[in-house]
């Protein structure tokens, strides 16, 4: 478990760096965010209390030292206090995010899992059938890998919702629905999530396919694979022997991939007007809602770190050598 402890330490350091960046960026970049926010506020009565709160948040016009502000920031983050969202009627950022988080976690989590499994299986098959027509899949995959997620989302909406009318083009549920644990509501949510999820899967599976194929090609040359084939084992069994070794780098490469996928998925949400973190991000950008931006950065970073920790557990489970080391 030494490995996990080391990784955990690393993630804690990363989280600390993220929190520090979140604190430093508004203070290092020239310009006054408080003025920008106040300029954006129309139709809201600006009380001195609001100005004072904003000043404190961004370290403008305060007498406390940078270090004092920093420790205060930390204590706020530890208490789940990310400030108030000016784009949402000064609701606390944490509660704004809490409303959107389940949608993103559900959509992106499930889509990433499907994409990983699908991509790995396809990658293994493409490698196994090296030199066959399946190699022609690679240029297609390349295209999907290079295309922006949100462009694919445009295409998906135009094709499957406007032209064919198979799936609803936007939002997470019908307008007349009320959130409840009823079959109609849940199936409606499912119906609305198909298109965004498929977009994310199609866009992100390419990376797993290529990664798995490349490692699998190397693994297939190992002696134990040759031996397995020579012993006359069933082909599926031989592929399984090679694949379960080839999958290790894919799992450990999860860290790099999940950041990309989350970024792409957030942009996909925007195109689908899906009420998750991506739409909040767009809202924050178009309203100069800095506190919401900062809160989103921290929450998304924490979520990505948690996903990485899970991937590490899976890795330790898959690879006995990491367990022996401890």
């Amino acid at each position: 478990m030494l490995v996990i402890a080391r990784r955990l330490f690393f993630y804690l350091v990363t989280a600390a760096v993220a929190i520090s960046l979140d604190f430093l960026i508004p203070r290092l970049i020239p310009g006054n965010p408080v003025d920008a926010i106040l300029a954006k506020m129309q139709g809201v009565t600006i009380t001195p209390a609001i100005i004072h709160a904003l000043d404190l948040q961004f370290g403008v016009n305060t007498s406390s030292s940078l270090w004092g502000q920093y420790t205060h920031f930390w204590s706020n983050v530890m208490h789940g206090n990310f400030g108030v969202s000016s784009a949402n009627g000064f609701e606390p950022v944490s509660s704004v995010i809490r409303q959107a988080l389940p949608y993103t976690l559900g959509l992106v989590g499930v889509a990433t899992l499907i994409s990983f499994l699908l991509g790995t299986v396809i990658g293994a098959i493409v490698a196994w059938k090296r030199g066959s027509w399946l190699d022609n899949l690679l240029p297609v995959v390349t295209f999907f890998q290079a295309a922006p997620y949100f462009f694919l989302a445009f295409l998906a909406i135009d094709l499957f919702s406007v032209l064919l009318g198979w799936f609803p083009p936007s939002r997470a549920a019908g307008a007349t629905d009320f959130p409840a644990f009823t079959w109609t509501y849940l199936s409606d949510v499912l119906d609305h999530s198909v298109l965004p999820a498929v977009t994310i899967v199609v866009a992100s599976a390419a990376g797993w396919i290529v990664g798995m194929r490349n490692v699998m090609l190397t693994t297939m040359d190992e002696d134990y694979v040759l031996l397995a084939a020579a012993k006359g084992l069933r082909k599926s069994r031989v592929i399984w022997y090679a694949a379960r070794n080839a999958i290790l780098p894919s799992v450990s490469g999860f860290a790099l991939a999940i950041g990309f996928i989350v970024s792409g998925a957030l942009l996909t949400e925007i195109v689908f007007s899906y009420p998750g973190l991506g739409s909040l991000l767009l809202q924050a950008v178009s309203n100069n809602d800095y506190e919401l931006m900062q809160g989103l950065f921290l929450i998304i970073t924490f979520a990505v770190l948690a996903a990485n920790l899970i991937a590490d557990f899976v890795y330790v489970f898959l690879d006995p050598r990491t367990r022996q080391e401890a």
Binding site: V3, R7, F10, V17, L21, D22, I25, P26, P30, G31, P33, R130, G131, S132, D135, L138, P139, T142, F143, Q145, A146, A147, P148, F150, F151, A153, F154, D158, V162, L163, G207, V210, N214, V215, L217, T218, D221, N245, P249, S250, S252, G253, A255, L256, A257, I258, G259, S263, I270, V271, L281, L282, V285, N288, M293, F297, V304, N308, R321, T322
Partner: protein, 366 residues
């Protein structure tokens, strides 16, 4: 790009087949031609050339100014002889916008690619060569930047920069490179680590060469394929990121392809079937990205011959592979110290990390 790769491509994977035994029978030039012959490289280079040309002469050949407004219709007009790719909701010419939109994109990506690659070489090679505490700290820095999701971080950076930052192409490139150097640094560190203990570097050290000479004359030239690969990867990353930032409205959308998608999304082009508005810019970004990924595949296959399978019949593929296997046995130096998560990344250039470690892909992790 191709020239710089082809002169030194060999070195990443080890000696040329046969060269260790009979250097004269395999002239270097013959090998140098091998890279451009790969269909992936040719396709990638051709596509990339089209885009470079487009960005250079695009503004000159554009039929209209991208801002020019043609009145007389409340909705975007489909392609016609006057407007080859139709018009936007403001009655601007889509074709002209596409032609003009590539310049900034390529410039920003190039700036970001150059800065990030320089950063990753400095940090990666330093970490790999020095080892010890410096290595631990630099690797940790790289890993932190690798794990942190880039998009929300960039949103804060560009958000607080506001309007001042959204027009400055160099600043945009610089910020993108700040979030894009870590992957290259990690790969370069791993490869430097493996090169550091090879015989020729050891002998240079024993002879008493200065450290700077060992790094610049002995190690760096042998990292060329990986540097090239990480440069392409960063440029690809910058293309995607710049598009995303413009799509979010964080950088000036007039005129780049991400900005066109920003306006198209704002006018619900995908819901109303104005395909001529959003497909051209999206396709342009996708094809530009495809050309970079293809080039990267080509370099990967060059560096790791086992990946060279596409386009070959099964039998000749096997034969070639067997030959490659035999030749590789001379070159293998296992990477001893690999970081835990070193293995493959699911991105295109993943394979290059494993080049020198086919036998130790798994063993290196322990």
């Amino acid at each position: 790009m191709a020239a710089s790769i082809s002169t030194d491509q060999v070195t990443g994977g080890g000696p040329v087949p046969g060269s260790a035994l009979s250097p004269r029978t395999t002239p270097r030039r013959q090998r140098a031609l091998q890279l451009p012959r790969s269909p992936k490289i040719i396709a990638g280079l051709a596509l990339l050339a089209v885009f470079v040309l487009l960005s250079l002469i695009g503004p000159l050949v554009a039929p209209y100014s991208p801002d020019q407004i043609f009145t007389n219709s409340p909705v975007p007009l489909p392609p016609s002889s006057a407007h080859w790719l139709g018009t936007t909701n403001l009655q601007q010419d889509v074709f002209s916008q596409v032609l003009v939109g590539g310049g900034d994109m390529l410039l920003v990506s190039l700036i970001a690619g150059v800065i990030a690659t320089a950063l990753s070489v400095v940090i990666g090679v330093t970490a790999g060569y020095l080892g010890g505490l410096a290595d631990d700290l630099l690797s940790m820095l790289a890993n932190i930047f690798l794990v942190m999701p880039a998009l929300p971080l960039l949103v804060i950076l560009f958000g607080f920069l506001g309007k001042t930052g959204s027009n400055d192409l160099f600043l945009i490139g610089l910020i993108i490179s700040a979030t894009g150097w870590a992957w290259g640094a990690r790969v370069l560190r791993a490869q430097t680590l493996s090169l550091r203990n090879r015989d020729y570097v050891d002998s240079a050290r024993i002879v008493g060469e200065r450290r700077s000479r060992i790094i610049f004359a002995e190690i760096l030239p042998n990292l060329t394929p990986i540097v090239a690969s990480s440069f392409l990867f960063t440029v690809l990353y910058a293309v995607g990121t710049y598009t995303a930032m413009a799509f979010l409205g964080l950088v000036n959308p007039n005129w780049n392809w991400g900005g066109m998608l920003f306006y198209a999304q704002g006018a619900n082009a995908e819901l109303t079937g104005y395909w001529w508005w959003y497909i051209p810019p999206g396709l342009a970004v996708a094809l530009l990205g495809t050309s970079l990924v293809l080039l990267n595949f080509g370099i990967d296959e060059f560096v790791n011959p086992r990946l060279r399978a596409a386009g070959l019949s099964r039998r000749s593929g096997r034969r070639r592979q067997a030959r490659a296997m035999r030749s590789q046995q001379f070159a293998m130096t296992p990477v001893v110290r690999m970081v835990q998560a070193q293995g493959a990344t699911p991105g295109a250039p993943a394979a290059s990390t494993r080049v020198t470690t086919p036998g130790t892909t798994e063993g290196g992790q322990a």
